[in-house]
Point group: C2
Chain length 396, copies 2
Amino acid sequence: MTPPPARRVPVPPGGDVPGGTGGGPAGTLERQGAIGTQRTNGPRSSEGRAPGESEGHEATTLLRRARAAVDPELRAAVGELPAALGRVARYHFGWSHADGSPATGNAGKAIRPALVLASAAAVGGARARAAAVRAAVAVELVHNFTLLHDDVMDRDTTRRHRPTAWTVFGDADAILVGDALLALALRLLAADPHPASAAAVARLADCVVELCAGQQTDTAMERRRPDEVTLAETLAMAEAKTGALLGCACALGGLYAGAEEDDVAALDAFGREAGLAFQLIDDVIGLWGDPDRTGKPAGADLAARKKSLPVVAALTSGTPAAAELAERYAMPYEEGAEDLERTALAVERAGGRDWAQTQAADRMARAMQELSRAVPEPEAAGGLLALAEFVTRRTA
Amino acid sequence: MTPPPARRVPVPPGGDVPGGTGGGPAGTLERQGAIGTQRTNGPRSSEGRAPGESEGHEATTLLRRARAAVDPELRAAVGELPAALGRVARYHFGWSHADGSPATGNAGKAIRPALVLASAAAVGGARARAAAVRAAVAVELVHNFTLLHDDVMDRDTTRRHRPTAWTVFGDADAILVGDALLALALRLLAADPHPASAAAVARLADCVVELCAGQQTDTAMERRRPDEVTLAETLAMAEAKTGALLGCACALGGLYAGAEEDDVAALDAFGREAGLAFQLIDDVIGLWGDPDRTGKPAGADLAARKKSLPVVAALTSGTPAAAELAERYAMPYEEGAEDLERTALAVERAGGRDWAQTQAADRMARAMQELSRAVPEPEAAGGLLALAEFVTRRTA
């Protein structure tokens, strides 16, 4: 048996070693909220509230408002597509079934659009928020372009509780609709008469290149032997693949609100750090979450022997459980729940779960620092803070 | 035996019936230049030259100048990509071998950049041409994005005499580098301080959507039975898949030269019609061209039972040879040259080759009309005319 690693030992930047000794069982962390303690580190959105629930409520309100703000323009943009492309896109967004009939689906949590709008509001108030809707739509389009393409490359078969687009319409349609959504996204920004339009296109296009590089590193890492992959490069991959777009969302909100270059950069860094925390928690949920809530099969990443962040942390921990995990990862998945349960247990015993939660807390602390630089007034920063805490405390 | 169909019978717009009777053997057409007779229909770039060679020389000069003008900025744009993406891109462009070592390759004929620059020059002279280089680079990037993605979807293994990127680096890398080139293209235009920048992004993004729709129709048509495909929809597909980008190239040149909206539209129509002529000749070359010159295996389209324009024209001709061709297309390709030769002969005997060359001439005539609307002065239109004639008279 391996002693459970600590949950609050700071991890050096780029460090390959998960936390050492001590600390409680990981389950208590989740009951406290996934990353527990960062609530005192940053600016607060409002005073005197009960912890947890009210901020969760604020975040869900922001997400709902973002969805309501972007959906009309998102549907209008997708509605401009030629019929056969539009049909695949509407299926992907959950607006219609495979046969084209309307569906009351789940288009996702609107985290990225909400970050654009909250970032604009933090810098420039309600007027800036209203002016940034197109940027929020563009970011949502780019996000969905990556989902469509990544699902093809990764051969993922389930997304948002439904079969992925490529499994229904074939690879070509999924690739082409992804291409079209990317073009729509940049077109929408370019055609916006807002003075930040051209800078926003450049920034979002740069982000797309970074997302592609992150996905490329990810697919290349999946082909390598588990012992050839370091934690530092896995973190860098996750920053490019996930952090970049959350950072860009916040940066675009700032740009649209007329923020100075330094503040735009700090908003970008805030989003990146929060994005990495988000990815870490996403990986934890992927390994130990409830498939009824996640919309993805339980243990699918383990069955595919994916080198997610907790897995690589476990593999590089130097513990006896790491050796057992490496042995399991060296062999293909054996059908049946037992293999998955034992593999997940090995990740946990090697400290992968606790490391991920500690690392997420660390990233959130850095995010708070960046946020307080860009938006010093706690009142103004409240929405961004609530969203960042929400996405790293969720369980699905 | 079927009588060879006529080569100069005009085809009604969207008509499904290839030309009827009479006319000479197709081979003489090619010796005269692929579509032979349009030299007297449009404005002339200069007077008193020997026909054929001098205009071909003008076109090759324009293509060489376009390559020289766009290559530095194209290489700089690709050079901004992260290393692993850049490596795949440089291989695709023929600038390096698969191992990353430099190659003196063939990056393509630069037809689309040359159209952008010639269009700008036609409207606004040398100064407009110089200002339009970024637009030319953006169009070339979009063209290569489509090549990378289409080769993945179509499982094409050879391009420009070399193995396609996906066969060397895998599907994921080819998809991702295509995505990145698309993002770079729109970024380049958006970041251009030129006043036409935003309109150009919108126009190029619209074109990308149309290219995707064309490719989607193409892949869907390939899955259908040969007798379910009409010539009208095959022509519409070719216009979206090929004509759209040549039209957009000309439109961007006009936009960058400050042309009025009507003239931009006429330049777009010129490029579309010339693009369709180009595609028709490309299909003819694909069926009867010399693989040493085309860089693609002989008869690859026939072996894959592709429903190219001459094939669909032949299939819908109502001739005995059409029935023979339909029978051949109903069965998978049998390894060996005999199947390909007989299939190509059936296409020819059913009038597919002559129809394609007649249709190309018809499209070129329409292109000339549009050109004379947008650029009434023959001197100014000369470059565009030379390029359009060049691409429809080439043999590889």
